[in-house]
Symmetry: C2
Subunit: 173 residues, 2 copies
């Protein structure tokens, strides 16, 4: 008896995308297929991108369009990109092809109202009941938390970037 879980890694601490990457590798370690979709440009880095080659048979990686840099001078263009990316995510969730679909940094699209919350929640709740979904990002809306089966809040107790240590290869990227 399998039940598709909606899992959310949120909060301001380090470890959200990292844990989603670990989930993807864990599923692939079982020979299960994963679709990993990055919604925000720059949240991924070379470490993840190079690792993907070793799992190219089991994990599909998508970096959405140009991503969202939040520096656009045309919010309508950004909203269109957000809708296209979400449409692609919906297709992945309804394809029956994947054990797990990861929507990395997806919460920002909701938080910044690039997408409407209610229709997104409805699609998530009406998805294939076997489909596992992992959503990461800060500021998860409370309605998303209510809809989720598993939620972990990554709370920053200490972070070296606050102490002036530069981001380092293999750690932050």
């Amino acid at each position: 008896m399998r039940k598709g879980l909606l899992m959310v890694f949120t909060g301001n601490g380090k470890g959200k995308t990292t844990a989603a990457l670990g989930m993807a590798i864990r599923a692939a370690g079982h020979g299960l297929k994963v679709c990993f979709i990055q919604f925000i440009k720059g949240s991924w880095h070379y470490g993840e991108l190079d690792a993907k080659e070793r799992f190219s048979d089991l994990i599909e990686w998508h970096v959405m369009g140009k991503g969202f840099t939040w520096k656009s001078e045309n919010l309508e263009d950004d909203a269109k990109l957000a809708r296209d990316a979400w449409k692609m995510a919906c297709e992945a969730m309804n394809s029956g092809k994947y054990h797990t679909v990861v929507l990395d940094e997806f919460t920002y699209l909701l938080h910044y109202n690039m997408l409407e919350l209610e229709p997104c929640l409805e699609i998530l709740q009406k998805r294939d009941p076997n489909q596992h979904v992992v959503i990461t990002g800060r500021y998860a809306p409370k309605e998303l938390i209510e809809a989720a089966d598993l939620v972990t809040e990554m709370q920053p107790i200490k972070h070296p970037l606050k102490k002036g240590v530069k981001a380092q290869k293999g750690i932050e990227f």
Copy 2:
């Protein structure tokens, strides 16, 4: 300028070992060497163990002895295993061979007084200043948190096992 970071993923929520696994994969994605040591039997499962084969050139995986099940009838035997495992971790940290050394579920050895805290902290603090170390597990002692550069507390907001959903392949193991 590299500075070896001491990172701790603690708290009762899901995502601690998963994030450490993601960190290991991220470093390996850069071609950097990792030593991943499991201190508690059963915290690892087939997903991780199968994934290890794809990174066997970059990530060394160690499951310590018989692990610690906390069901031993001989606490002295357990303490001896703990000391042997820690000795091996110290050798890995001082070998200069690894970008990152992961001590998965290590906090339990401190919490349950299988090891003395002060000498362990001293070794961690006097290690090679380039050596990154990731420690996971609940109940991280406050002295360890004080010594760390980065600490994230994984807080459980919701967990499906509390609602009677069984552990599933590719998710919990």
